[in-house]
């Protein structure tokens, strides 16, 4: 099953990426090459096999943990916002969202 130009445009929009038409063509060719490789997976019988999302599930009795939902970090607002593209009075600035 080959992807189409429309598929690439749809996925780029979902991923909030903007591709020029020539980039879309190029990506289409590369992804179709890649998915030829991916189709090999369909030959493997996985009936009754549970998906493995994470290797920790294989580590026996080593349990992953949750911590108490309490604020444990010091307030570092200025340091955290130092690398932000646009900040004013401690707030992140974004383009107008509500008309």
């Amino acid at each position: 099953m080959a992807l189409t130009f429309k598929d690439i445009e749809r996925v780029a929009n979902l991923a909030r990426l903007e591709l020029r038409p020539d980039e879309t063509e190029h990506t289409l060719a590369q992804l179709n090459g890649f998915f030829t490789l991916v189709e090999q997976m369909q030959a493997v019988n996985t009936d009754g096999v549970a998906p493995l999302a994470h290797p920790a599930a294989l580590l026996g009795d080593v349990a992953l943990r949750l911590r108490e939902d309490i604020a444990s970090e010091p307030n570092q607002r200025e340091a955290s916002q130092a690398s932000a593209p646009a900040v004013e009075r401690g707030l992140f600035l974004v383009p107008k969202v509500i008309e």
Partner: protein, 509 residues
Amino acid sequence: MSSSFPISPTSPSLDLHDLGVAELAARLASGSVSSVEVTQHFLARIARQDSLGAFLAVDADVSLAQARAADVRLAAGERTPLLGVPLAHKDVFVTRDFPTTAGSKMLEHYRSPFDATVVSKLAGAGMVTLGKLNCDEFAMGSGNENSAYKLVQNPWDVSRVPGGSSGGSAAAVAARLVPAATGTDTGGSIRQPASLTGITGIKPTYGRCSRYGMVAFASSLDQAGPMARSALDCALLLSSMAGPDPDRDSTSLDLPAVDYATDLIATPADGTSAKPLKGLRIGLPAQFFGAGCAPDVLAAVRGALAEFEKLGATLVDVSLPLTELSIPVYYVIAPAEASSNLSRFDGVRYGHRAAHYLDLTDMYKKSRSEGFGDEATRRIMIGTYVLSHGYYDAYYLKAQKIRRLIAQDFQTAFAQCDVIAGPVSPTVAWKIGEKGDDPVASYLADIYTLSSSLAGLPGMSIPAGFGEGGLPVGLQLIGNYFKEAQLLGTAHQFQLATDWHQKAPKASA
């Protein structure tokens, strides 16, 4: 010459860069050299070999301040294994004192408000940071050709790649610009560059090291590890890097820290020095020794395996039947996770923001398209597609099911052997630009490292000899869960009997 590099060419400390971590630590402990002197020496080498492209950031003032602090601790009588020894960090570990870019234009001016856990643990042990090391953008690549900033040259042949994604780490260690470095390994990014540059590197069991402060690529696969010249040096570093991080990484394993270095020096299993590996069964997966592996690589690997037999180990045949399938499985799962992780780059809280845009959505799109390079963009596209409605079951879920089968195959193999061995990379280092614009060609070269990553197993690369063009070949050793000590011990015995790990490229002279 700036005051940061006061060492004259006639300084007797000029051989300091030939020393590994353990040897430097011994000299520092004896007082024969200071951390400031060691740090100045390496900073001068880094400045001289800037054309290698290994470093993205250095700051002599920061490094020397850390070295002076280490010297104070040494003068006060403190004797800990890494005190005053310098290293450098792959640029995916966030650092307060240096910029962190992850090799991406997206983070060109980023300065982290905190240190990664691995960084703070090594700093706490008294290590001095020499700077930040080049890597593929967001650790996505196998040749360091995806760095947004510059290529890294392989010190053994500067027309060739050092491997990736921890290519700057590998090149810097191989060229003796640093005695050790940190790396990260998602699908082979410690082992493969270690192999291609003739150094030693270990990817621990998933969860051994905290991922806190590692710029996330694929969260169910990412793992930090040390890269150095010997298994002993890696053991020293890993002992400080590993350990639970209960409040900051819920996937860090709740296991006590291990002193891997002391274990190495312990008496061999059978109490004799002639056959220190007697009783060790090394499994050779048939799929790792097929036609896909270049003859020069196979010859070096077989030579190393013969040495292991001399040391008392026995070789047994095992099978990992889904080895080839690990490529599509990995390249579905890792991009799926990457597309989620990289969604945080929205041009709002940190990272690049486009100068011109129409509205919020346009700002996201333009900022992301300008900030991400080709490979990151490609993986976001793949990941978004395999997670999208109608394709999730056929691709993402299917890959996760095969992932379980791959992990089960390893347990079947480990019923017959203690460690698994084979090549790391099917070829020696390739020419910069040789793989062209075909991502699939690059992905296929990851065949021997992906399956153990998917299973979460520890693996390492140790220098095993040389192939065509006098280029290094690494031997991969894969252990069962939590068996880092066994891997390091096996590698250490090999390195006591051989000197491949002591070979240095001419460029490092």
